[in-house]
């Protein structure tokens, strides 16, 4: 279990913006296109994920059990963050916070 988490950390951290935002979107249940729309919305259209990127990343995240396929609606798979996924996301957020805090401290100090 511990070892598995180490492998996941190695594989996913530091995280790409794509993976980060997909995981973040899946704190609520969403389907692929729903993720695309939400990412566009919360980044003020700075990031528009392509469907190929979404499809590939979702498949990878599901294989590594960071997200789970929860249900199906109109033949669309609905995904949600798993416990493991939440842990990885939190680790990434800690890392980002560290970057930001150090940045602020050094730039202002």
């Amino acid at each position: 279990m511990e070892r598995k988490m180490e492998l996941l950390k190695k594989k996913y951290l530091p995280m790409t913006e794509t993976a980060y935002y997909i995981l973040l979107c899946l704190t609520k249940s969403r389907h692929g296109y729903g993720i695309m729309q939400h990412v566009e919305e919360i980044t003020n259209s700075r990031i528009k994920l392509g469907p190929g990127t979404i499809y590939g990343t979702l498949s990878k995240l599901e294989k590594d059990a960071l997200i789970i396929h929860e249900a199906e609606e109109d033949r669309k798979k609905i995904y949600r963050l798993s416990e493991k996924g939440r842990t990885v996301l939190e680790l990434e957020m800690e890392r980002l916070l560290e970057l930001l805090n150090n940045g602020k401290e050094e730039m202002e100090g």
Binding site: T16, E17, T18, G32, Y33, M36, I47, K48, L49, G50, P51, G52, T53, I54, Y55, G56, T57, L58, R75, K76, K77
Partner: protein
């Protein structure tokens, strides 16, 4: 005036951008694509309106139903696909040029899927080749086969090399992500 046009365009799996851009250029001149055949090397166009259309090539040998659904939701239209796993997607746009892949990782993975498909075929070629080397004789037919296989294997090695080179380039760019 000729309103129909048939054009051949050869392109390689590790560099589909070339054919994508060419199709887009044709559309911008008013040549609207209406048919693709001969393994996506022959394209038929009809002269009509000038359009801004993005074409994207994908390689996906194993997909589930979600693949088509996600693309369709984002209003991409599938205009051609084959059994091996090649897909050509189309989308009209106004300002921002859309893409099916918006990160380098996904492009590297597309190349890797291509390598994954070629590898077993390559092993098979090598196997037959070794067999031919072993039984090489003055028999004309065997000798001809030997040369045909030499050419095939060389072609494969060149293709592998090109895909690897394309991946190297993509990995260099990935640092930005």
């Amino acid at each position: 005036m000729n309103t129909l046009k048939k054009s051949w365009y050869l392109w390689w799996g590790w560099n589909p951008e070339k054919v994508e851009n060419w199709l887009e250029l044709m559309e911008s001149k008013g040549w609207n694509l209406y048919q693709v055949d001969m393994l996506a090397n022959r394209f038929k166009f009809k002269k009509d309106k000038r359009r801004t259309v993005r074409y994207c090539v994908d390689f996906q040998p194993n997909i589930d139903a979600q693949y088509i659904t996600i693309f369709a939701d984002d209003t991409w239209e599938l205009i051609w696909s084959n059994e091996i796993g090649w897909y050509i997607w189309k989308k009209e746009y106004e300002k921002e040029r859309p893409s099916i892949y918006t990160d380098y990782n996904s492009l590297i993975e597309r190349n890797n899927r291509l390598i994954g498909m070629l590898k077993p075929m390559f092993s098979f070629l090598i196997f037959i080749f070794l067999f031919l080397v072993f039984f090489r004789s003055n028999h004309v037919f065997i000798n001809q086969l030997f040369w045909i296989y030499s050419v095939l294997i060389t072609t494969y090695i060149v293709i592998f090399f090109q895909i690897k080179r394309s991946n190297k380039k993509l990995k260099k760019n990935r640092i930005k992500e």
